[in-house]
């Protein structure tokens, strides 16, 4: 479970990252698509070449959703309700892929923040992204 100190850390960090949502989001997405090619199967309708407009806008969308959830982590289920329905009934992305994206998000954050991505920050972020993914998959079955 996320402790209060961790929730605060996560909330403040994502607030700082909103201005670079497009960069971080598209970087994480690209890393996932290149490192785990099976994930490309969900993007046959988009142009996912590096630096493509689709990649940037889709990455931005994802980061903004993650940042929105971070504003009040105790309300994740409420905040993510529409996205839960989208993923369960329309997108139906196999949930194991959330873990792959989360990992690539952590790598993207490490590249972006360097030494500032301390082990404590990493731990809190990993916990948050796991919670986010779990809530996202809640309506699957």
């Amino acid at each position: 479970m996320l402790r209060d100190k961790e929730k605060k850390l996560i909330r403040e960090l994502w607030e700082r990252l909103i201005p670079v949502a497009e960069d971080i989001g598209s970087d994480a997405l690209l890393r996932m698509l290149v490192t785990f090619p099976g994930t490309k199967t969900y993007f046959s309708h988009l142009d996912i070449r590096p630096r493509s407009a689709h990649l940037r806008s889709h990455g931005k969308k994802i980061v903004l959703a993650i940042a929105e959830g971070a504003k009040d982590i105790s309300q994740l289920t409420v905040t993510l309700a529409p996205l839960q329905i989208l993923h369960a009934y329309q997108l139906r992305i196999t949930p194991s892929n959330f873990k792959l994206f989360s990992h690539c998000m952590l790598v993207a954050l490490a590249c972006f923040l360097g030494e500032d991505f301390t082990p404590v920050t990493h731990a809190a972020m990993d916990k948050y992204l796991s919670a986010f993914a779990a809530v996202l998959a809640e309506k699957y079955r």
Binding site: L30, H103, A110, C111, F112, H122
Partner: protein, 147 residues
Amino acid sequence: MVVWSEQERSIINSIFASLDYDDIGPKALCRCLIVYPWTQRYFGGFGNLYNAEAIKTNPMIGAHGIKVLHGLDRAVKNMDDIKNTYAELSVMHSEKLHIDPDNFRLLADCLTIVIAAKMGTAFTADIQAAFQKFLSVVVNALGRQYH
């Protein structure tokens, strides 16, 4: 048979050639113990692991991190037969150390993130993919002799 492209070989060799083992080794192991605290179960005799600061300044952990990182050297030198190169090490991790092989993946992820933090934007998606492919072969090989 794992097939490596020339580019992948070059990426792996380049990363390890410029690797600061004394810096990265301890960082990777510490991060694993902090981010995945259950891994501390294997370090009962290593002294104070009470909090992140204690772990980061623990000299026994630091030394062990360097040792583990050097353990990857043989895989780098024998990329075409990592499976057999690590057969004995795998037996040791299973029968002597009793380490749950899923934890190898966790340490590999932490190592990836430490190197990403060090290299910054130079750690491109292609480099990440090659590095993770290498680590996943190592992780696989280390888990192979568990019966």
